[in-house]
Amino acid sequence: MGNVTLTRVTKKFGAVEIIKGVDLTVEDGEFCVFVGPSGCGKSTLLRMIAGLEDISSGSLSIGGRDMTDVDPAERGVAMVFQSYALYPHMTVAENIGFGLRMTGHPKEEIARRTAAAADMLQLKPLLERKPAQLSGGQRQRVAIGRAIVRNPDVFLFDEPLSNLDASLRVQMRIEISKLHQDLKSTMIYVTHDQVEAMTMADKIVVLQAGLIEQVGSPLELYHRPRNIFVAGFIGSPKMNFLKVTARPTEGGVAVTFPGGPSLTIPTETPVIKGETTLTLGIRPEHLDRETGDVTLAGTVRLAEHLGSETLLYVTLADGAEISVKADGLTSARPGDAISIPLLARACHLFDTEGTALHNGDLTR
Protein backbone atom coordinates (compact mmCIF):
# COMPACT_ATOMS: atom_id res chain seq x y z
CA MET A 1 0.00 0.00 0.00
CA GLY A 2 1.40 3.33 -0.95
CA ASN A 3 -0.89 6.05 0.28
CA VAL A 4 1.05 9.02 1.57
CA THR A 5 -0.34 11.36 4.20
CA LEU A 6 1.24 14.58 5.35
CA THR A 7 -0.18 16.21 8.45
CA ARG A 8 0.71 19.82 9.28
CA VAL A 9 4.22 19.24 8.00
CA THR A 10 6.71 22.08 8.34
CA LYS A 11 10.38 22.46 7.50
CA LYS A 12 12.81 24.97 8.87
CA PHE A 13 16.31 25.60 7.59
CA GLY A 14 17.82 27.38 10.58
CA ALA A 15 15.38 30.14 11.39
CA VAL A 16 13.76 30.25 7.96
CA GLU A 17 10.53 28.35 7.55
CA ILE A 18 10.43 26.91 4.04
CA ILE A 19 7.43 24.57 4.34
CA LYS A 20 4.76 26.26 6.39
CA GLY A 21 2.31 23.58 7.34
CA VAL A 22 1.23 21.21 4.58
CA ASP A 23 -1.72 18.82 4.83
CA LEU A 24 -1.98 16.43 1.94
CA THR A 25 -3.19 12.94 1.16
CA VAL A 26 -2.00 11.03 -1.88
CA GLU A 27 -4.07 7.91 -2.44
CA ASP A 28 -2.58 4.53 -3.23
CA GLY A 29 -1.81 4.26 -6.93
CA GLU A 30 -2.37 7.92 -7.58
CA PHE A 31 -0.15 10.05 -9.84
CA CYS A 32 0.34 13.26 -7.92
CA VAL A 33 2.20 16.23 -9.39
CA PHE A 34 3.69 19.11 -7.38
CA VAL A 35 3.91 22.37 -9.28
CA GLY A 36 4.78 25.85 -8.21
CA PRO A 37 7.20 28.67 -8.91
CA SER A 38 10.93 28.14 -8.40
CA GLY A 39 11.92 28.12 -4.75
CA CYS A 40 8.43 27.39 -3.40
CA GLY A 41 9.61 24.20 -1.70
CA LYS A 42 8.57 21.43 -4.09
CA SER A 43 11.91 19.63 -3.93
CA THR A 44 12.12 20.15 -0.20
CA LEU A 45 8.70 18.57 0.31
CA LEU A 46 9.61 15.63 -1.90
CA ARG A 47 12.90 15.13 -0.09
CA MET A 48 11.04 15.17 3.21
CA ILE A 49 8.83 12.34 1.94
CA ALA A 50 11.97 10.48 0.84
CA GLY A 51 13.58 11.02 4.22
CA LEU A 52 16.51 13.03 2.89
CA GLU A 53 15.42 16.08 4.89
CA ASP A 54 14.03 15.68 8.36
CA ILE A 55 10.60 16.97 9.22
CA SER A 56 10.70 19.95 11.61
CA SER A 57 7.16 19.39 12.85
CA GLY A 58 4.07 17.51 11.81
CA SER A 59 3.91 13.91 10.70
CA LEU A 60 4.21 11.74 7.64
CA SER A 61 2.75 8.33 7.07
CA ILE A 62 3.22 5.99 4.14
CA GLY A 63 0.95 3.00 3.70
CA GLY A 64 -0.64 3.77 7.03
CA ARG A 65 2.64 3.50 8.94
CA ASP A 66 4.14 6.52 10.67
CA MET A 67 7.35 7.37 8.82
CA THR A 68 8.15 10.77 10.32
CA ASP A 69 11.48 9.71 11.81
CA VAL A 70 12.19 6.58 9.81
CA ASP A 71 15.37 6.18 7.74
CA PRO A 72 15.00 6.70 3.98
CA ALA A 73 15.87 3.07 3.38
CA GLU A 74 12.91 1.79 5.39
CA ARG A 75 10.25 3.96 3.85
CA GLY A 76 9.64 1.81 0.79
CA VAL A 77 10.18 4.74 -1.54
CA ALA A 78 12.40 5.11 -4.59
CA MET A 79 13.56 8.44 -5.88
CA VAL A 80 14.62 9.58 -9.33
CA PHE A 81 16.82 12.64 -9.19
CA GLN A 82 16.86 15.51 -11.63
CA SER A 83 20.57 14.95 -12.13
CA TYR A 84 20.02 11.16 -12.54
CA ALA A 85 22.74 10.46 -9.95
CA LEU A 86 24.05 7.35 -11.69
CA TYR A 87 27.14 5.75 -10.19
CA PRO A 88 29.74 6.59 -12.84
CA HIS A 89 32.06 3.69 -12.05
CA MET A 90 29.38 1.03 -12.50
CA THR A 91 27.81 -0.37 -15.64
CA VAL A 92 24.13 0.08 -16.32
CA ALA A 93 23.40 -3.40 -14.98
CA GLU A 94 25.43 -2.74 -11.84
CA ASN A 95 23.74 0.60 -11.38
CA ILE A 96 20.31 -0.99 -11.54
CA GLY A 97 21.22 -3.88 -9.25
CA PHE A 98 23.33 -1.92 -6.78
CA GLY A 99 20.65 -1.28 -4.18
CA LEU A 100 19.56 -4.91 -4.22
CA ARG A 101 23.13 -6.15 -3.97
CA MET A 102 23.86 -3.89 -1.02
CA THR A 103 20.76 -5.01 0.82
CA GLY A 104 21.72 -8.64 0.52
CA HIS A 105 19.47 -10.05 -2.20
CA PRO A 106 20.63 -13.29 -3.83
CA LYS A 107 22.46 -13.02 -7.14
CA GLU A 108 19.82 -14.81 -9.25
CA GLU A 109 17.09 -12.58 -7.96
CA ILE A 110 19.10 -9.44 -8.73
CA ALA A 111 19.79 -10.70 -12.23
CA ARG A 112 16.13 -11.54 -12.81
CA ARG A 113 14.81 -8.23 -11.53
CA THR A 114 17.48 -6.23 -13.38
CA ALA A 115 16.54 -8.01 -16.58
CA ALA A 116 12.86 -7.33 -16.03
CA ALA A 117 13.46 -3.63 -15.42
CA ALA A 118 15.78 -3.41 -18.42
CA ASP A 119 13.11 -5.06 -20.54
CA MET A 120 10.47 -2.62 -19.46
CA LEU A 121 12.69 0.36 -20.29
CA GLN A 122 14.38 -1.03 -23.42
CA LEU A 123 17.78 -0.97 -21.75
CA LYS A 124 18.73 -4.53 -22.76
CA PRO A 125 21.44 -3.60 -25.30
CA LEU A 126 22.98 -1.04 -22.94
CA LEU A 127 23.45 -3.15 -19.83
CA GLU A 128 27.23 -3.39 -20.10
CA ARG A 129 27.85 0.30 -20.75
CA LYS A 130 29.01 2.92 -18.30
CA PRO A 131 26.84 6.00 -17.73
CA ALA A 132 29.34 8.19 -19.58
CA GLN A 133 28.60 6.23 -22.75
CA LEU A 134 24.85 6.93 -22.63
CA SER A 135 22.72 9.74 -23.99
CA GLY A 136 20.65 11.91 -21.68
CA GLY A 137 17.45 10.00 -22.32
CA GLN A 138 19.17 6.65 -21.77
CA ARG A 139 20.65 7.87 -18.50
CA GLN A 140 17.21 8.96 -17.42
CA ARG A 141 15.88 5.51 -18.21
CA VAL A 142 18.62 3.89 -16.17
CA ALA A 143 17.74 6.15 -13.26
CA ILE A 144 14.12 5.06 -13.56
CA GLY A 145 15.22 1.43 -13.87
CA ARG A 146 17.10 1.75 -10.64
CA ALA A 147 13.88 2.85 -8.99
CA ILE A 148 11.75 0.12 -10.58
CA VAL A 149 13.88 -2.87 -9.50
CA ARG A 150 13.31 -2.09 -5.89
CA ASN A 151 9.59 -2.49 -6.41
CA PRO A 152 8.74 0.44 -4.14
CA ASP A 153 5.31 1.43 -2.86
CA VAL A 154 5.96 5.03 -3.77
CA PHE A 155 8.00 6.56 -6.59
CA LEU A 156 9.35 10.06 -6.15
CA PHE A 157 10.48 12.06 -9.17
CA ASP A 158 12.19 15.45 -8.90
CA GLU A 159 11.94 17.14 -12.28
CA PRO A 160 13.22 14.02 -14.02
CA LEU A 161 12.80 15.33 -17.54
CA SER A 162 14.06 18.88 -17.22
CA ASN A 163 17.50 18.08 -18.65
CA LEU A 164 16.10 16.51 -21.80
CA ASP A 165 15.31 18.18 -25.09
CA ALA A 166 11.72 18.82 -26.09
CA SER A 167 11.02 15.74 -28.21
CA LEU A 168 12.70 13.35 -25.79
CA ARG A 169 10.73 14.94 -23.00
CA VAL A 170 7.48 14.15 -24.75
CA GLN A 171 8.59 10.56 -25.33
CA MET A 172 9.73 10.03 -21.73
CA ARG A 173 6.58 11.67 -20.43
CA ILE A 174 4.52 9.09 -22.25
CA GLU A 175 6.77 6.29 -21.03
CA ILE A 176 6.44 7.36 -17.43
CA SER A 177 2.66 7.56 -17.78
CA LYS A 178 2.66 4.05 -19.26
CA LEU A 179 4.86 2.85 -16.45
CA HIS A 180 2.36 4.21 -13.99
CA GLN A 181 -0.45 2.34 -15.68
CA ASP A 182 1.56 -0.90 -15.65
CA LEU A 183 2.91 -0.72 -12.11
CA LYS A 184 -0.07 0.99 -10.49
CA SER A 185 2.22 2.35 -7.77
CA THR A 186 1.85 5.71 -6.14
CA MET A 187 3.94 8.33 -7.91
CA ILE A 188 4.77 11.81 -6.71
CA TYR A 189 6.26 13.96 -9.39
CA VAL A 190 7.74 17.45 -9.20
CA THR A 191 7.79 19.55 -12.33
CA HIS A 192 7.94 23.04 -13.72
CA ASP A 193 6.30 21.99 -16.89
CA GLN A 194 2.62 22.85 -17.36
CA VAL A 195 2.09 20.20 -19.98
CA GLU A 196 3.65 17.45 -17.86
CA ALA A 197 1.49 18.44 -14.93
CA MET A 198 -1.73 18.57 -16.97
CA THR A 199 -1.17 15.39 -18.95
CA MET A 200 0.29 13.06 -16.35
CA ALA A 201 -1.42 13.94 -13.13
CA ASP A 202 -4.42 12.41 -11.44
CA LYS A 203 -3.99 15.12 -8.88
CA ILE A 204 -2.08 18.39 -9.03
CA VAL A 205 -0.82 20.15 -5.94
CA VAL A 206 -0.07 23.83 -6.51
CA LEU A 207 2.44 25.16 -4.02
CA GLN A 208 3.50 28.68 -3.32
CA ALA A 209 5.97 29.86 -0.70
CA GLY A 210 5.71 26.67 1.30
CA LEU A 211 1.92 26.48 1.34
CA ILE A 212 -0.58 24.54 -0.73
CA GLU A 213 -2.69 26.89 -2.83
CA GLN A 214 -4.98 24.24 -4.24
CA VAL A 215 -5.24 20.50 -4.77
CA GLY A 216 -7.32 18.99 -7.52
CA SER A 217 -7.52 17.21 -10.82
CA PRO A 218 -5.93 19.01 -13.76
CA LEU A 219 -9.25 20.13 -15.21
CA GLU A 220 -10.60 21.17 -11.85
CA LEU A 221 -7.61 23.45 -11.40
CA TYR A 222 -7.98 24.78 -14.90
CA HIS A 223 -11.69 25.47 -14.70
CA ARG A 224 -12.15 26.22 -11.04
CA PRO A 225 -9.03 27.90 -9.66
CA ARG A 226 -9.63 28.81 -6.06
CA ASN A 227 -7.57 31.97 -6.26
CA ILE A 228 -5.78 34.30 -8.60
CA PHE A 229 -2.44 32.55 -8.08
CA VAL A 230 -3.68 29.17 -9.24
CA ALA A 231 -5.63 30.82 -12.07
CA GLY A 232 -2.45 32.48 -13.29
CA PHE A 233 -0.23 29.47 -12.73
CA ILE A 234 -2.25 26.79 -14.47
CA GLY A 235 -2.73 27.30 -18.18
CA SER A 236 -0.40 28.61 -20.80
CA PRO A 237 -0.39 31.31 -21.94
CA LYS A 238 -1.42 32.69 -18.61
CA MET A 239 -4.92 33.90 -17.77
CA ASN A 240 -5.54 37.60 -18.42
CA PHE A 241 -6.39 39.76 -15.45
CA LEU A 242 -8.24 43.07 -15.77
CA LYS A 243 -9.13 45.51 -13.03
CA VAL A 244 -12.85 46.30 -13.12
CA THR A 245 -15.41 48.05 -10.95
CA ALA A 246 -18.35 45.88 -10.03
CA ARG A 247 -21.77 46.20 -8.47
CA PRO A 248 -24.34 43.53 -7.67
CA THR A 249 -27.31 43.12 -10.00
CA GLU A 250 -30.19 40.71 -10.32
CA GLY A 251 -28.69 37.21 -10.77
CA GLY A 252 -25.11 38.34 -11.20
CA VAL A 253 -22.48 41.06 -11.15
CA ALA A 254 -22.32 44.07 -13.44
CA VAL A 255 -18.70 44.93 -14.19
CA THR A 256 -17.40 48.05 -15.89
CA PHE A 257 -14.06 48.06 -17.71
CA PRO A 258 -11.82 51.10 -17.32
CA GLY A 259 -12.38 51.97 -21.00
CA GLY A 260 -16.14 52.24 -20.51
CA PRO A 261 -17.91 49.09 -21.71
CA SER A 262 -19.77 47.08 -19.13
CA LEU A 263 -21.00 43.56 -18.90
CA THR A 264 -23.21 41.47 -16.66
CA ILE A 265 -21.70 38.23 -15.46
CA PRO A 266 -24.31 35.72 -14.31
CA THR A 267 -23.51 34.04 -10.99
CA GLU A 268 -25.43 31.35 -9.16
CA THR A 269 -25.33 33.13 -5.83
CA PRO A 270 -24.74 36.79 -5.02
CA VAL A 271 -20.97 37.23 -4.67
CA ILE A 272 -20.61 40.88 -3.69
CA LYS A 273 -22.61 43.21 -1.52
CA GLY A 274 -21.92 46.78 -2.61
CA GLU A 275 -19.92 48.47 -5.33
CA THR A 276 -16.28 47.41 -5.29
CA THR A 277 -13.22 46.83 -7.44
CA LEU A 278 -12.58 43.28 -8.59
CA THR A 279 -10.16 41.47 -10.84
CA LEU A 280 -11.71 39.84 -13.85
CA GLY A 281 -9.89 36.84 -15.24
CA ILE A 282 -10.28 35.38 -18.69
CA ARG A 283 -8.18 32.81 -20.48
CA PRO A 284 -6.52 33.77 -23.79
CA GLU A 285 -8.11 30.76 -25.47
CA HIS A 286 -11.60 32.00 -24.53
CA LEU A 287 -11.14 35.27 -26.35
CA ASP A 288 -11.16 33.71 -29.78
CA ARG A 289 -14.90 33.87 -30.44
CA GLU A 290 -17.03 35.13 -33.27
CA THR A 291 -19.31 37.10 -31.02
CA GLY A 292 -19.26 38.17 -27.43
CA ASP A 293 -21.45 39.78 -24.84
CA VAL A 294 -19.20 42.80 -25.05
CA THR A 295 -16.20 43.74 -27.18
CA LEU A 296 -12.98 45.36 -26.04
CA ALA A 297 -11.05 47.53 -28.47
CA GLY A 298 -7.28 47.35 -28.62
CA THR A 299 -4.16 47.42 -30.76
CA VAL A 300 -2.05 44.40 -31.61
CA ARG A 301 1.44 44.91 -30.18
CA LEU A 302 2.97 41.56 -31.10
CA ALA A 303 1.81 38.49 -32.98
CA GLU A 304 3.45 35.10 -32.49
CA HIS A 305 2.56 32.71 -35.28
CA LEU A 306 2.89 29.17 -34.02
CA GLY A 307 1.28 27.56 -37.05
CA SER A 308 -1.58 25.84 -35.29
CA GLU A 309 -2.46 29.04 -33.49
CA THR A 310 -1.43 32.65 -33.20
CA LEU A 311 -0.74 34.44 -29.95
CA LEU A 312 -1.70 38.07 -30.07
CA TYR A 313 -0.48 40.49 -27.43
CA VAL A 314 -2.95 43.34 -27.39
CA THR A 315 -2.84 46.72 -25.67
CA LEU A 316 -6.30 47.86 -24.64
CA ALA A 317 -7.56 51.44 -24.77
CA ASP A 318 -6.68 52.03 -21.10
CA GLY A 319 -3.17 50.64 -21.50
CA ALA A 320 -3.83 47.18 -20.01
CA GLU A 321 -2.18 44.25 -21.79
CA ILE A 322 -4.01 41.07 -22.66
CA SER A 323 -3.08 38.04 -24.70
CA VAL A 324 -5.38 36.30 -27.13
CA LYS A 325 -5.00 32.82 -28.51
CA ALA A 326 -6.30 33.25 -32.04
CA ASP A 327 -6.58 31.00 -35.05
CA GLY A 328 -3.38 30.03 -36.82
CA LEU A 329 -4.59 31.68 -40.01
CA THR A 330 -5.39 35.06 -38.50
CA SER A 331 -4.08 37.96 -40.50
CA ALA A 332 -3.62 40.37 -37.60
CA ARG A 333 -0.27 42.15 -37.60
CA PRO A 334 1.37 44.46 -35.08
CA GLY A 335 -0.25 47.88 -35.17
CA ASP A 336 -3.64 46.62 -36.32
CA ALA A 337 -6.71 47.74 -34.43
CA ILE A 338 -8.68 44.79 -33.16
CA SER A 339 -11.86 44.22 -31.25
CA ILE A 340 -11.99 41.35 -28.86
CA PRO A 341 -15.29 39.69 -28.08
CA LEU A 342 -15.75 38.72 -24.47
CA LEU A 343 -18.13 36.02 -23.25
CA ALA A 344 -19.66 36.69 -19.86
CA ARG A 345 -19.88 32.95 -19.20
CA ALA A 346 -16.07 32.55 -19.51
CA CYS A 347 -15.15 35.21 -16.98
CA HIS A 348 -13.72 34.52 -13.51
CA LEU A 349 -13.96 37.07 -10.72
CA PHE A 350 -11.46 37.57 -7.90
CA ASP A 351 -11.66 39.92 -4.95
CA THR A 352 -8.84 42.22 -3.91
CA GLU A 353 -7.27 39.48 -1.75
CA GLY A 354 -7.11 37.24 -4.81
CA THR A 355 -9.76 34.75 -3.71
CA ALA A 356 -12.02 33.51 -6.47
CA LEU A 357 -15.61 34.77 -6.07
CA HIS A 358 -16.88 33.21 -9.24
CA ASN A 359 -15.50 30.73 -11.78
CA GLY A 360 -16.61 31.00 -15.36
CA ASP A 361 -17.97 27.94 -17.06
CA LEU A 362 -18.42 27.68 -20.78
CA THR A 363 -20.54 24.54 -20.48
CA ARG A 364 -23.29 26.42 -18.72
Partner: protein, 283 residues
Amino acid sequence: MFPTPVQKSGPLASAAYQIILPIALVIWLLPLLGVAVTSVRPSGDLAAGNYFGIPSSFAGVENYKAVFRDSPIGTYILNSFKITIPTVIGAVGLSCLAGFALAVYRFKGNLALFFLFVAGNFIPFQILMVPVRDLTLKLGLYDTVTGLVLFHVAFQTGFCTLFMRNFIKGLPFALIESARVEGVSEWRIFLHVVLPLMRPAIAALSVLIFTFVWNDYFWATVLVQGQSAMPVTAGLNSLNGQWVAAWHLVSAGSIVAALPPVLMFFLMQKHFIAGLTLGATKG
Protein backbone atom coordinates in the same frame (compact mmCIF):
# COMPACT_ATOMS: atom_id res chain seq x y z
CA MET B 1 41.14 28.17 -29.74
CA PHE B 2 42.25 29.61 -26.46
CA PRO B 3 45.05 29.83 -25.57
CA THR B 4 46.56 30.34 -29.00
CA PRO B 5 49.13 27.63 -29.73
CA VAL B 6 52.68 29.02 -29.57
CA GLN B 7 53.35 27.96 -33.15
CA LYS B 8 50.62 30.29 -34.35
CA SER B 9 51.46 33.34 -32.24
CA GLY B 10 53.64 36.27 -33.31
CA PRO B 11 57.38 35.90 -34.02
CA LEU B 12 58.32 37.82 -30.87
CA ALA B 13 56.28 35.54 -28.63
CA SER B 14 57.59 32.40 -30.25
CA ALA B 15 61.20 33.62 -30.08
CA ALA B 16 60.77 34.49 -26.41
CA TYR B 17 59.26 31.08 -25.86
CA GLN B 18 62.14 29.35 -27.60
CA ILE B 19 64.74 31.23 -25.57
CA ILE B 20 63.13 31.40 -22.16
CA LEU B 21 61.84 27.86 -21.96
CA PRO B 22 65.28 26.17 -22.30
CA ILE B 23 66.76 28.63 -19.81
CA ALA B 24 64.06 27.88 -17.28
CA LEU B 25 64.50 24.20 -17.89
CA VAL B 26 68.26 24.34 -17.36
CA ILE B 27 67.92 26.38 -14.17
CA TRP B 28 65.34 23.92 -12.90
CA LEU B 29 67.48 20.90 -13.76
CA LEU B 30 70.85 22.35 -12.76
CA PRO B 31 71.04 20.94 -9.21
CA LEU B 32 69.89 17.55 -10.45
CA LEU B 33 72.42 17.60 -13.24
CA GLY B 34 75.09 18.61 -10.75
CA VAL B 35 74.30 15.63 -8.55
CA ALA B 36 74.13 13.26 -11.50
CA VAL B 37 77.48 14.42 -12.87
CA THR B 38 79.12 14.33 -9.46
CA SER B 39 77.93 10.78 -8.95
CA VAL B 40 80.08 9.63 -11.90
CA ARG B 41 83.13 11.72 -10.97
CA PRO B 42 86.23 9.93 -9.75
CA SER B 43 87.25 10.98 -6.22
CA GLY B 44 90.45 12.53 -7.56
CA ASP B 45 88.44 15.23 -9.36
CA LEU B 46 86.96 16.48 -6.10
CA ALA B 47 90.35 16.49 -4.40
CA ALA B 48 91.75 18.49 -7.34
CA GLY B 49 88.92 21.03 -7.05
CA ASN B 50 87.14 20.01 -10.25
CA TYR B 51 83.66 20.38 -8.76
CA PHE B 52 81.62 21.59 -11.71
CA GLY B 53 83.75 20.84 -14.77
CA ILE B 54 83.68 17.85 -17.06
CA PRO B 55 84.63 14.71 -15.07
CA SER B 56 88.18 13.63 -15.92
CA SER B 57 87.03 10.05 -16.36
CA PHE B 58 83.82 8.04 -15.99
CA ALA B 59 83.78 6.52 -12.52
CA GLY B 60 80.09 5.72 -12.34
CA VAL B 61 80.50 1.99 -11.93
CA GLU B 62 83.02 2.20 -9.08
CA ASN B 63 81.06 4.92 -7.29
CA TYR B 64 77.75 3.08 -7.35
CA LYS B 65 79.48 -0.16 -6.36
CA ALA B 66 81.18 1.65 -3.49
CA VAL B 67 77.87 2.97 -2.25
CA PHE B 68 76.54 -0.54 -1.82
CA ARG B 69 79.84 -1.89 -0.48
CA ASP B 70 80.79 0.86 1.98
CA SER B 71 77.42 1.60 3.52
CA PRO B 72 74.40 -0.40 4.62
CA ILE B 73 72.32 1.44 2.03
CA GLY B 74 70.19 -1.66 1.53
CA THR B 75 69.12 -1.53 5.17
CA TYR B 76 68.51 2.19 4.91
CA ILE B 77 66.32 1.81 1.84
CA LEU B 78 64.42 -0.99 3.51
CA ASN B 79 63.93 1.26 6.54
CA SER B 80 62.70 4.03 4.28
CA PHE B 81 60.11 1.66 2.86
CA LYS B 82 59.16 0.48 6.33
CA ILE B 83 58.57 4.08 7.32
CA THR B 84 57.04 5.43 4.15
CA ILE B 85 54.53 2.75 3.17
CA PRO B 86 52.73 2.54 6.53
CA THR B 87 52.71 6.33 6.69
CA VAL B 88 51.09 6.61 3.27
CA ILE B 89 48.51 3.96 4.12
CA GLY B 90 47.84 5.47 7.53
CA ALA B 91 47.62 9.09 6.47
CA VAL B 92 45.63 8.49 3.29
CA GLY B 93 43.32 5.94 4.93
CA LEU B 94 42.57 8.13 7.93
CA SER B 95 42.06 11.20 5.79
CA CYS B 96 39.64 9.38 3.48
CA LEU B 97 37.49 8.56 6.49
CA ALA B 98 37.83 11.96 8.12
CA GLY B 99 37.29 13.73 4.81
CA PHE B 100 34.14 11.69 4.18
CA ALA B 101 32.75 12.58 7.58
CA LEU B 102 33.55 16.27 7.18
CA ALA B 103 32.18 16.45 3.65
CA VAL B 104 29.01 14.41 4.03
CA TYR B 105 27.66 14.85 7.54
CA ARG B 106 26.15 17.95 8.99
CA PHE B 107 27.06 18.06 12.67
CA LYS B 108 27.83 20.69 15.24
CA GLY B 109 31.40 21.87 14.99
CA ASN B 110 31.93 20.40 11.54
CA LEU B 111 33.33 23.62 10.15
CA ALA B 112 35.33 24.36 13.29
CA LEU B 113 36.91 20.93 13.05
CA PHE B 114 37.67 21.45 9.40
CA PHE B 115 39.35 24.77 10.12
CA LEU B 116 41.40 23.06 12.79
CA PHE B 117 42.72 20.71 10.12
CA VAL B 118 43.45 23.65 7.84
CA ALA B 119 45.08 25.71 10.57
CA GLY B 120 47.25 22.78 11.61
CA ASN B 121 48.99 23.02 8.26
CA PHE B 122 50.26 26.49 9.06
CA ILE B 123 52.24 25.46 12.11
CA PRO B 124 55.92 25.14 11.18
CA PHE B 125 56.53 21.70 12.57
CA GLN B 126 60.19 22.42 13.32
CA ILE B 127 59.12 24.33 16.43
CA LEU B 128 57.69 21.06 17.72
CA MET B 129 61.06 19.37 17.54
CA VAL B 130 61.89 19.41 21.25
CA PRO B 131 58.47 18.41 22.61
CA VAL B 132 58.08 15.67 20.01
CA ARG B 133 61.49 14.26 20.82
CA ASP B 134 60.65 14.31 24.53
CA LEU B 135 57.37 12.62 23.83
CA THR B 136 58.93 9.83 21.79
CA LEU B 137 61.51 9.26 24.48
CA LYS B 138 58.84 8.98 27.15
CA LEU B 139 56.74 6.67 25.02
CA GLY B 140 59.73 4.49 24.31
CA LEU B 141 59.39 5.17 20.61
CA TYR B 142 62.70 6.97 20.20
CA ASP B 143 64.90 5.39 17.57
CA THR B 144 62.14 3.12 16.27
CA VAL B 145 60.37 2.84 12.93
CA THR B 146 57.02 2.87 14.73
CA GLY B 147 57.82 6.23 16.27
CA LEU B 148 58.67 7.79 12.94
CA VAL B 149 55.56 6.33 11.30
CA LEU B 150 53.29 7.60 14.06
CA PHE B 151 54.65 11.10 13.91
CA HIS B 152 54.65 11.24 10.14
CA VAL B 153 51.02 10.09 10.08
CA ALA B 154 50.16 12.71 12.67
CA PHE B 155 51.79 15.50 10.69
CA GLN B 156 50.51 14.46 7.25
CA THR B 157 46.89 13.69 8.12
CA GLY B 158 45.96 17.36 8.48
CA PHE B 159 46.76 18.28 4.93
CA CYS B 160 45.41 15.01 3.57
CA THR B 161 42.09 15.51 5.33
CA LEU B 162 41.79 19.02 3.93
CA PHE B 163 42.45 17.63 0.47
CA MET B 164 40.09 14.67 0.75
CA ARG B 165 37.27 16.64 2.30
CA ASN B 166 37.34 19.13 -0.54
CA PHE B 167 37.52 16.37 -3.11
CA ILE B 168 34.51 14.55 -1.68
CA LYS B 169 32.61 17.84 -1.42
CA GLY B 170 33.13 18.12 -5.15
CA LEU B 171 31.41 14.80 -5.88
CA PRO B 172 27.71 15.02 -6.75
CA PHE B 173 25.92 14.73 -3.42
CA ALA B 174 22.91 13.18 -5.16
CA LEU B 175 24.98 10.00 -5.56
CA ILE B 176 25.12 9.60 -1.80
CA GLU B 177 21.48 10.53 -1.34
CA SER B 178 20.39 8.17 -4.04
CA ALA B 179 22.29 5.33 -2.37
CA ARG B 180 20.70 6.25 0.95
CA VAL B 181 17.21 6.02 -0.50
CA GLU B 182 18.17 2.65 -1.95
CA GLY B 183 18.84 1.43 1.55
CA VAL B 184 22.62 1.23 1.36
CA SER B 185 24.30 1.63 4.74
CA GLU B 186 26.59 4.60 5.28
CA TRP B 187 29.67 2.41 5.53
CA ARG B 188 28.83 0.69 2.26
CA ILE B 189 28.16 4.04 0.61
CA PHE B 190 31.67 5.01 1.60
CA LEU B 191 33.16 1.76 0.34
CA HIS B 192 31.18 1.23 -2.85
CA VAL B 193 30.21 4.71 -4.02
CA VAL B 194 32.63 7.27 -2.63
CA LEU B 195 35.90 5.37 -2.44
CA PRO B 196 35.96 4.21 -6.08
CA LEU B 197 35.37 7.80 -7.21
CA MET B 198 38.23 9.02 -5.03
CA ARG B 199 40.82 7.00 -6.91
CA PRO B 200 42.50 10.00 -8.59
CA ALA B 201 42.68 11.84 -5.28
CA ILE B 202 44.06 8.81 -3.49
CA ALA B 203 46.69 8.27 -6.18
CA ALA B 204 47.77 11.90 -6.20
CA LEU B 205 47.91 12.12 -2.45
CA SER B 206 49.76 8.83 -2.12
CA VAL B 207 52.50 9.98 -4.46
CA LEU B 208 52.71 13.29 -2.70
CA ILE B 209 52.97 11.82 0.77
CA PHE B 210 55.25 9.03 -0.39
CA THR B 211 57.68 11.54 -1.85
CA PHE B 212 57.42 13.84 1.10
CA VAL B 213 58.00 11.19 3.74
CA TRP B 214 60.65 9.39 1.71
CA ASN B 215 62.58 12.63 1.36
CA ASP B 216 62.20 13.61 4.99
CA TYR B 217 65.51 14.34 6.63
CA PHE B 218 64.42 16.44 9.55
CA TRP B 219 62.44 13.94 11.62
CA ALA B 220 64.80 11.16 10.60
CA THR B 221 67.65 12.95 12.32
CA VAL B 222 65.57 14.17 15.26
CA LEU B 223 63.86 10.88 16.13
CA VAL B 224 66.44 8.30 15.05
CA GLN B 225 69.98 7.67 16.10
CA GLY B 226 71.03 4.15 15.22
CA GLN B 227 71.25 2.23 12.00
CA SER B 228 68.28 0.01 12.81
CA ALA B 229 65.61 2.61 12.08
CA MET B 230 67.58 5.09 9.97
CA PRO B 231 65.99 5.90 6.58
CA VAL B 232 68.11 6.40 3.51
CA THR B 233 68.02 10.22 3.55
CA ALA B 234 69.74 10.43 6.89
CA GLY B 235 71.79 7.29 6.29
CA LEU B 236 73.52 8.72 3.22
CA ASN B 237 75.50 10.95 5.49
CA SER B 238 77.42 7.93 6.73
CA LEU B 239 79.04 7.69 3.28
CA ASN B 240 81.07 10.72 4.21
CA GLY B 241 84.01 9.38 6.13
CA GLN B 242 84.82 10.79 9.54
CA TRP B 243 87.67 12.90 8.12
CA VAL B 244 87.05 13.10 4.38
CA ALA B 245 83.96 14.17 2.52
CA ALA B 246 83.04 11.74 -0.24
CA TRP B 247 80.55 13.81 -2.22
CA HIS B 248 80.77 11.60 -5.29
CA LEU B 249 79.53 8.69 -3.19
CA VAL B 250 76.86 10.76 -1.46
CA SER B 251 75.68 11.89 -4.90
CA ALA B 252 75.55 8.35 -6.19
CA GLY B 253 73.65 7.31 -3.06
CA SER B 254 71.23 10.19 -3.53
CA ILE B 255 70.45 9.09 -7.05
CA VAL B 256 69.74 5.57 -5.81
CA ALA B 257 67.62 6.96 -3.00
CA ALA B 258 65.62 9.14 -5.40
CA LEU B 259 64.53 6.24 -7.58
CA PRO B 260 61.63 4.86 -5.52
CA PRO B 261 59.56 8.09 -5.53
CA VAL B 262 60.10 8.37 -9.27
CA LEU B 263 58.98 4.78 -9.75
CA MET B 264 56.02 5.42 -7.51
CA PHE B 265 55.01 8.35 -9.67
CA PHE B 266 55.04 6.32 -12.86
CA LEU B 267 53.21 3.48 -11.21
CA MET B 268 50.40 5.72 -10.01
CA GLN B 269 50.27 7.84 -13.12
CA LYS B 270 47.49 5.96 -14.84
CA HIS B 271 45.19 6.53 -11.87
CA PHE B 272 45.42 10.28 -12.14
CA ILE B 273 42.96 10.34 -15.00
CA ALA B 274 40.49 13.10 -14.47
CA GLY B 275 36.82 12.96 -15.29
CA LEU B 276 36.05 9.85 -13.34
CA THR B 277 32.63 11.19 -12.41
CA LEU B 278 31.76 11.77 -16.04
CA GLY B 279 28.27 10.57 -16.74
CA ALA B 280 27.11 10.67 -13.15
CA THR B 281 24.88 13.62 -13.80
CA LYS B 282 23.35 15.29 -16.80
CA GLY B 283 26.71 16.16 -18.42
